[in-house]
């Protein structure tokens, strides 16, 4: 039997302590969760900013830890790291930005004639398929019908473009605020944890440490893994597209790397955009096939080699739960919601597991891992 923790009896001596109504813990917890959810919903833009800043902080934590393990002051380490990052970014921009900008300008200049070029490309591909397989010709719509559909689709998609341009200011502010917040989160993380630890009741300290460590392990590994994975995928896509002679390899590689952070949908989006560009450029089936094979190869490489070794076992979500969390995250918070959905649900799952384990212990049901138990010897000498 587990002995009871010593109670603070000073409260019981007052007459009000005995008569005071205390609601059941489940109601208090339920109300607290609803209140927190409401608060998060009302301030979701700030929450997203904070989540992204925390993500950047997690990404950089191992570098700060290296300095901290050598007893170097954390504020100096964080400042030096951010200075190095800024210098690195400026140097990378100096090398890559002119090329990226020229690719972007060419792409932007060709946007007005996009429908015509896409229509011409589709026409050429249809003819190619038709000449090889005449039966397939019947499956394709008339040219006028196709052009109208295509025009309507592109108009519908470009209707959101002014909104996107309008959001550029917000994106620029976020671009400044995220590193700024991240700097302070990273610099003061230890103090914040220390503050919380010293205010937690001793009875909950081990579970709290366990929860905090699991959150750090899960999110840290996931975010760092995703960033490295995205960089490798982006580089592989850019190199592959450059070898195949597809236009805008840098832009498409960067897009593929960024899109890869969204589970399931990201790789499809990256391959889709690259295929579209290749279709307009080559107006033929063979290069299209090569681009698709390239993305298929990258996907297999990602699933078989990169994800297991880099992201590792950070995420233990069932595929259905993973997909559901991405859909719900996307519905609630858009693209960023899709990215943060997986680590958020993983953290909730791990926290629940730990709390349930504690509850099981308290109920007297011990040994939650009987399979890992080693038979006890009756002697030792």
């Amino acid at each position: 039997m587990i002995p009871e923790r010593p109670r603070d009896t000073s409260l019981d001596s007052t007459p009000t302590a005995q008569t005071r109504f205390t609601p059941p813990a489940s109601i208090v917890w339920g109300m607290a969760i609803i209140g927190l959810g409401l608060l998060l919903h009302l301030s979701r833009e700030l929450v997203l900013l904070l989540l992204l800043a925390a993500g950047l902080a997690y990404l950089l934590t191992p570098l700060v830890r290296i300095a901290e393990s050598a007893a170097i002051r954390r504020d100096i380490a964080v400042t030096a790291l951010f200075i190095a990052l800024i210098v690195g970014l400026v140097a990378t921009s100096y090398v890559l930005l002119p090329r990226l900008r020229s690719e972007f300008n060419t792409l932007y200049a060709g946007l007005p004639s996009l429908t015509e070029r896409l229509d011409a490309a589709l026409d050429a591909v249809q003819k190619e398929i038709g000449s090889e397989y005449p039966v397939a010709q019947r499956l394709f719509p008339d040219r006028e019908v196709r052009y109208e559909r295509l025009n309507a689709f592109i108009e519908q998609q470009s209707a959101d473009l002014p909104n996107l341009v309008g959001h550029l200011a917000t994106i620029a502010i976020a671009g400044v605020l995220i590193p700024f917040l991240s700097f302070f989160l990273l610099r003061d993380a230890r103090k914040m944890i220390q503050f919380l630890m010293n205010r937690l009741p001793p009875a909950h300290i081990e579970t709290s440490v366990a929860v905090s460590c699991e959150i750090e392990r899960t999110i840290g590994r996931y975010i760092r893994g995703l960033a490295i994975d995205g960089m490798i995928i982006g580089t592989a896509a850019a190199l592959g597209l450059w070898v195949l002679g597809v236009n805008y390899p840098l832009l498409l590689g960067a897009f593929s790397g960024l899109a890869n952070v969204v589970p399931y949908l990201g790789p499809i989006l990256g391959a889709g955009v690259a295929t579209l560009v290749a279709l307009i450029q080559f107006q033929s089936l063979a290069p299209l096939g090569k681009v698709l094979i390239l993305y298929l190869f990258i996907k297999i490489l990602d699933d078989v080699v990169l994800q297991p070794t880099i992201v590792g076992m950070a995420v233990h979500l069932h595929p259905i739960l993973l997909l559901a969390s991405v859909i719900v995250g996307g519905h609630s918070f858009g693209l960023i919601g899709m990215i943060v959905a997986v680590p958020t649900v993983t953290v909730l799952q791990e926290t629940t597991k730990l709390l349930l384990e504690r509850r099981r212990y308290r109920a007297g049901l011990q040994d939650p891992h009987p399979r890992t138990r080693v038979p006890v010897q009756s002697y030792i000498c």
């Binding site: 039997m1 587990i2 002995p3 923790r5 010593p6 830890r65 901290e68 393990s69 050598a70 007893a71 170097i72 002051r73 954390r74 100096i76 944890i193 220390q194 630890m197 010293n198 937690l200 001793p202 009875a203 300290i205 081990e206 579970t207 440490v209 366990a210 905090s212 460590c213 699991e214 392990r217 384990e357 504690r358 212990y361 011990q366 040994d367 939650p368 891992h369 890992t372 138990r373 030792i380 000498c381």
Partner: protein, 183 residues
């Protein structure tokens, strides 16, 4: 003009003090300063008031504790209440069984005076030893030595009068404390 001591300026004194303390912890003996640094960043610190219970016998065990400041008592719950088995001072560790198995705490720990403890969570320790075989071998070796010492002391206690056996130090206990206990 006094020359600025860059090394002292850039050093985190608090971390350095913890590092010096870790060097004295018997569980980590044989580890280099660099390896101790890797361990150091995994630790949490928590302050306890006198009389506060750190953990109770039978509770889930998830972490190892190292005494940074103050004094901690280890107690066994028997039929006649709590029986003190050890008093730990800075540099001593307790709750080490949490690093080995997932079974509940086998004793209660309580702060005797205002104390600060360093907490090493099991999963963090597992992560550390998975990636660093030298740390794993040294720490596990030290832990086994401590357990072997405990077993030998228990065997001897069964075979000889208690007065002479109390001198055998318990794991994580300094020789000084052991002699205090025997008195």
């Amino acid at each position: 003009m006094a020359r600025l001591n860059w090394r002292a300026w850039a050093t985190d004194q608090e971390q350095l003090d913890r590092l010096h303390l870790l060097e004295k912890v018997s569980l980590f003996s044989g580890l280099s300063r660099r390896q101790l640094g890797k361990l150091l960043v995994k630790l949490f610190e928590k302050a306890y008031q006198p009389g506060e219970t750190i953990f109770l016998e039978g509770e889930p065990a998830k972490a190892l504790f190292i005494v940074l400041h103050g004094r901690v008592s280890i107690l066994h719950t028997g039929k006649e209440g709590e029986d003190p088995v050890a008093t730990l001072t800075p540099g001593a560790y307790f709750g080490e069984l949490a690093l080995i198995d997932d079974l509940p705490r086998s004793a209660t720990a309580r702060a005797d005076e205002p104390s600060a403890l360093l907490i090493l969570y099991k999963s963090h320790f597992d992560d550390l030893i998975e990636g660093h075989s030298t740390i794993a071998i040294r720490v596990m070796g030290n832990l086994l030595k401590a357990l072997a010492g405990y077993v030998r002391a228990a065997h001897a206690r069964r075979a000889s009068p208690p007065a002479t056996l109390a001198d055998a130090p318990l794991p994580g206990e300094t020789a000084q404390k052991s002699s205090d206990r025997s008195r």
